[in-house]
């Protein structure tokens, strides 16, 4: 999984913007075994941060106990329709990605 794993919905209402993010990711814990009994190496998102106008509005550090396809919802003050959010994720393997979402 390289690019395009994030689905985000951001909605501005009454001076606040509510953000819902779902990342398509298996969040492999490293405890699971495959059919041959070999451990599947851990592969999960460690950090997901959301920036609005260059200012960080949320940073989530996740462990292996976050479910598959992690979901994150929060609200921040400010934000207007048409603005852009930058969502950056970092995997434990070192992979990173930045995706953007528009406030609606």
């Amino acid at each position: 999984m390289a690019k395009g794993i994030i689905r985000a919905k951001a909605k501005a209402k009454g001076g606040n913007t509510s953000v819902k993010i779902m990342a398509k990711h298996d969040m492999e814990t490293g405890n699971r075994k495959d059919k041959k009994g070999k451990k599947i190496p851990a592969k999960y998102i460690q950090t997901m941060s959301v920036a609005y106008n260059g200012k960080k509005v949320m940073e989530a550090n996740m462990g292996t106990a976050v479910s598959k396809n992690p979901y994150l919802a929060f609200t921040f003050e400010g934000g207007a329709k048409g603005d852009q959010l930058d969502i950056t994720w970092i995997e434990n393997t070192g992979n990173t990605g930045t995706e953007t979402a528009k406030v609606r």
Binding site: N16, M27, T29, N31, Q46, T47, S49, K55, K56, V57, M58, E59, A60, N61, M62, G63, T64, A65, V66, S67, K68, P70, Y71, L72, A73, F74, T75, F76, E77, G78, T88, I90, T96
Partner: protein, 151 residues
């Protein structure tokens, strides 16, 4: 005069700095705490993350199901009416790694986050809210029935 060497040097230094920025955008708030995330003991995880133990508070609101039919996806919402919330952390006591997630809340962001966590078995879920004035927690027992009749 700009020589080829100085141009290359500038490009490399700039690239290195930009690379660092991409790798470590989290440094300003809270870096991913390896010791806290990888320990199998909840107290150790809390010790690695905070100084001191949290005290139970009614102002920390942990919303989680009483019975989770599927332990792989347990929705939780943590909110707090307290001012100046800096971080919110979620622990699942019975998991192999109790620390599930930690959220840094910058000023201007509401102290309310929702996420979905995994639970290996029935256990207590604890939310810890860190404010300028200390650590506060709320916890709740969540029953996990995997594959059963769903409670």
């Amino acid at each position: 005069m700009i020589s080829r060497r100085s141009v290359l040097k500038a490009v490399f230094t700039g690239g290195a700095v930009a690379g660092l920025g991409v790798l470590m955008p989290s440094i300003a708030l809270a870096a991913w705490n390896k010791a806290a995330f990888e320990t199998d003991n909840q107290d150790t995880a809390m010790g690695a993350l905070f100084d001191g133990a949290p005290s139970a508070s009614a102002e920390v609101n942990l919303k989680a199901p009483d019975i989770a039919e599927n332990g792989a996806v347990v929705p939780v919402t943590i909110s707090s009416s307290m001012a100046g919330v800096k971080t919110i952390a979620v622990f699942v006591e019975g998991n192999p790694n109790p620390l599930a997630a930690q959220f840094a809340i910058p000023a201007g962001t509401k102290a309310e986050v929702s996420c979905r966590i995994r639970m290996g078995k029935t256990s207590a879920v604890t939310a810890v809210v860190e404010t300028a004035s200390g650590l506060f927690s709320a916890s709740k027992e969540v029953k996990v029935t995997i594959g059963g009749c769903g409670g």
